[in-house]
Amino acid sequence: MATTTSALGGAIRRREDPALIQGHGRYVDDIKLPGETAAAFVRSPFARAKVLSIDASEALAMDGVVAVYTAADVDSLGPLIAQLSFAPRPLLNGGEVKHVGEAVAMVVAENRYLAQDAADLVFVDYDPLEAVIDLKDAHSDRVIIHEGSESNTIISWAAPFGAEPEDQQAVRDQIEADKSRDDTVVVSQEMINQRLIPTAIEPRRVLAEWNPGYRSLNVWSSSQIPHALAGGIAVSLGLPTTSVRVIAPEVGGGFGAKLNVYNDEILVSWAAQQLARPVRWVETRREAANSTIQGRGWVGTATIVGTTDGEILGYDFDGIADMGAYTQNFTVAIPFLGLFVGSGQYKMPTYWKIDCVATNTTTTDAYRGAGRPEAVYYLERIIDMYAREIGMDPADVRNKNFIPNEAFPGAVSPIGFAMDTGDYSTNLNELLEVADYAGMKAERDAARAAGRHVGIGLSSYVEVCGFAPSGLADLGFNWATYGLPTAFNGSGLVRVNPDASATVIIGTGPSGQAHQTTWAQIVSDRLGIEVDNIVVKHGDTGDSPMGIGTFGSRSAAVDGAAAYQAADRVREKAAKLAAHLLEAAEEDVVFADGGAHVAGSPDSSVGWGDIASIAYQVHKAPEGTEPGLESEVFFTPSNATWPFGSHLAMVEVDADTGNVEILRYVSMDDCGNVINPMIVDGQVHGGIAQGIGQALFEEAIYDADGNLLSGSMVDYPIPTAGDLPAFELHRTVTPTDVNPMGVKGIGEAGTIGSAQTIVNAVVDAVAPLGVTHIDMPLRPRRVWEAIQEAR
């Protein structure tokens, strides 16, 4: 058996784009139900306060107001369910609110406008308490945020991971000993990796409909994780998981912010059940900023000790991560994901520790990259500072310290994780060559001589993604709390229909990643059925196999592999049927051109229609053939995947204003084999844009009282196409061996590689003025102030 058509690797156009571009995509707000009501939330204006009383009488007296619910109505449902939850969020808070924007009451009215009007008329009496906003202040435990806790530090992660504490200490002791040697260089810098607001073009929304007859719920939500959401709603409402169907239709961006089961999703579902009327909640942009999760929020000190000729003897990272007020789905796991890549792609001994600390701010959780951009940022910034300190080219320092190719397969990072495949030097060197690094340096030096402030920034990175090895479930990476004790398997069902078309139903759904195109290519590759004749269905827990969702750059590597294997199983059965029709031996059957033929005799062929026909009319098939032509596969890989790459940027700083202009941006990513290069390029584009957004523009800014000052798009600038240069994208290809396609994942790589590339470039540009570090975002004022300080 062999295929002669290969759809893998083809830059075919995204099949979903005509509908999305022309406005025919169906989002939650496009779905209308008869008898709908609308919900609005009453939210705390205080970062920390006791709720003394709530007076909803005026709101309830308004025409068109259906109900007002407070904590007393929903406390019996328990707190919000989340995996890895250490500080669970009440569904509605009637006790002590812990961040501005926390919900204390829910209004249901005949429409969204009335609901908002009524919410404004719910009067809440608060007793404000001292809020703890500053991360270091919270870390000091001066004020304890969660009553009954001994510390605001919820959990700490340390590495080498899995090592005994005394072995971890031994690594640290060795690093300390190297630091005190006379012949070593120590470079250390405290840096902030600021909080960000994930900004999807479609804020969250949820619509729930209860059927009292069937005692079942239909819920439409703009979610990355419909199965977990169905489970979470079922557990909260005491329903069998089979009674809750969640549909995530088109999802207008997620970036991790829709990777949570939210209290509003539970409450809207519950209210629909209580009222026996559909309830819809549509998030406002301000709610998206301060009630949906935020990302990042680390402060930490990175230290390198090394020789004067560029050998890194040890790396030490000591950080604090801001959890916000509560822990939700992955909140405490995000710094842990950072730990995975704490030592990057380098071989140096590493001690890495982070404390996960509560503050009276919006909860943090996954935002594109989720822990890995933060960890890589610290490492790649300090390597740059080390290179500058010893006067060595930063590319040479990286090349000198990479885990060598001969360590693969079987490489284990210094921080304690087995890595799949890697070829770091080739990747970096190809980038330097294709970008003409030597020429760039000459150009920079010439510009400097002419009085301009031009700089070059380089960063390599390794990420870890495609999470799925079943054993991760024991670390808490599972949906058990959502009533679905599954590991992070991939899933896919492939069915060849009687008319020779194929239907693919998958356990993950896109929030912009083009699953409809990619999965059709995978199945087309295995079966030889034209992409146009394959339909891909997703996002509906009513008909899709149990799936974990789209996040962590995992869909292609895990769920894609499941569909790949499912297609292979269909092909195995089809080969038997084709052999019967062709009166040939099964092993001589070749699939090509929409059908099968005998090897060496392409004229003697049968189409998929012929094969499907006898698959469904088995009296024409070999005796004992079961009717049907489909397979459902769950797939768990042997490891996560470890994509990597190197990015290079050239910038110019206007020293009079601090303005940064990006002159060039060149990337060399390695995500293993590529299913669709155009889609991969698109992912890298978006990823780099968001990394540049963090580097230059974005910051969730709180005042001392915990008010989010940058909660609207006026004060939270995100990059637009006009602010960005034309990216020059390149790839090396180092396939993984943990899935049959050799694909690693590309959703987050651009973000992980880019922020420190820009910062390294800007610092390089102003280094001649004496600047050694500037904290992000490198808004003009920061750059200018850093220059003034250095002068």
Partner: protein, 285 residues
């Protein structure tokens, strides 16, 4: 993003619109709606009545009236930016309009609307100050002219009365020896987004010497404001780079510079000088 309930009227004539305003003290005029609608959605501002003048004919032209240009109430930013007349005779305004908002905003929002909105970090406000423009305000009680220098009162507050509509903006045409320019630092760097600091300059040179100059700042204080000391310092000079630099040192004199998320007082004071210098240099080129 759900506004409070409001009444909406879209009169077909200016007289009807003026009558609607006269009859409803709580009414608010809307032209492009690019600032008003977001504020209403955020419930920062909740007028009882919105009088949409967008359906009124005859307010969307840019006319050459001899010594000045007249820009109607419904002239979009994109029209101001792309108008050969504005580009030729009021370059600072064309440039400021081209840097207002994003393409969607420029296609919908209006120059007069942005000026009446009086955002502290708007672009065209500085341009009309530097150009010495005049605002024509109309109500049922009559028509009056307001000099740009008297028009901007405070953040989001201009000299218009609640029953008045800014029907026209009159901009003096640059003659021989006159030039104007606008430049800024945007919140997203370069000239992108609202002004962290921006400057508009208008200069007239006669026989090799500057005999009149007006410079205005935006983004640095509570409103767009004339930097009068710069003009005074430049007049009588030869307009050379040295003279510009010396005059620019006065940029923030008499200006109440305020800190915001985008800059400290020190930084904005510094930027005022930098951008005044750049605007003057461009105006004299």
């Amino acid at each position: 993003m759900y506004p409070r309930q409001f009444e909406y009227s879209a009169p077909a004539s200016l007289d009807e619109a003026l009558a609607a305003l006269a009859n409803n003290p709580a009414a608010k005029v809307m032209s492009g709606g690019m600032s008003l609608i977001p504020m209403m959605k955020l419930r920062l501002f909740s007028p009882a009545v919105v009088v949409d003048i967008g359906k009124i004919g005859g307010l969307d032209s840019i006319e050459d009236r001899g010594d000045h240009l007249a820009i109607g109430a419904l002239v979009r930013h994109v029209a101001t930016a792309n108008s050969p007349l504005v580009q030729q005779y009021a370059a600072a305004l064309a440039k400021a309009a081209s840097l207002t908002g994003d393409p969607q905003v420029r296609n919908q929002g209006t120059t007069c609307g942005a000026i009446a909105h009086a955002d502290l970090a708007a672009d065209q406000t500085a341009a009309v100050l530097a150009l010495g423009a005049t605002m024509v305000a109309k109500s049922t009680g009559g028509t009056r002219e307001i000099a740009a220098a008297d028009f901007f009162v405070d953040t989001l507050t201009c000299a218009l009365q609640p029953d008045e509509i800014l029907v026209e903006l009159l901009v003096p045409k640059a003659g021989a020896g006159e030039g104007s320019a606008y430049t800024k630092l945007g919140r997203r760097g370069g000239e992108s987004d609202y002004a962290v600091a921006g400057a508009a300059a208008w200069v007239r040179k006669t026989n090799g010497s500057v005999d009149a100059a007006r410079v205005a700042l935006t983004g640095v204080g509570s409103k767009a404001v004339l930097a009068a000391a710069v003009g005074d310092a430049l007049v009588g000079s030869d307009g050379s780079a040295t003279a510009i630099e010396a005059a620019s040192a006065h940029a923030a004199e008499g200006v109440n510079v305020l800190e915001d998320l985008h800059g400290s007082v020190e930084y904005k004071t510094h930027l005022a000088k930098v951008y005044v210098q750049r605007a003057l240099t461009a105006a004299l080129t």
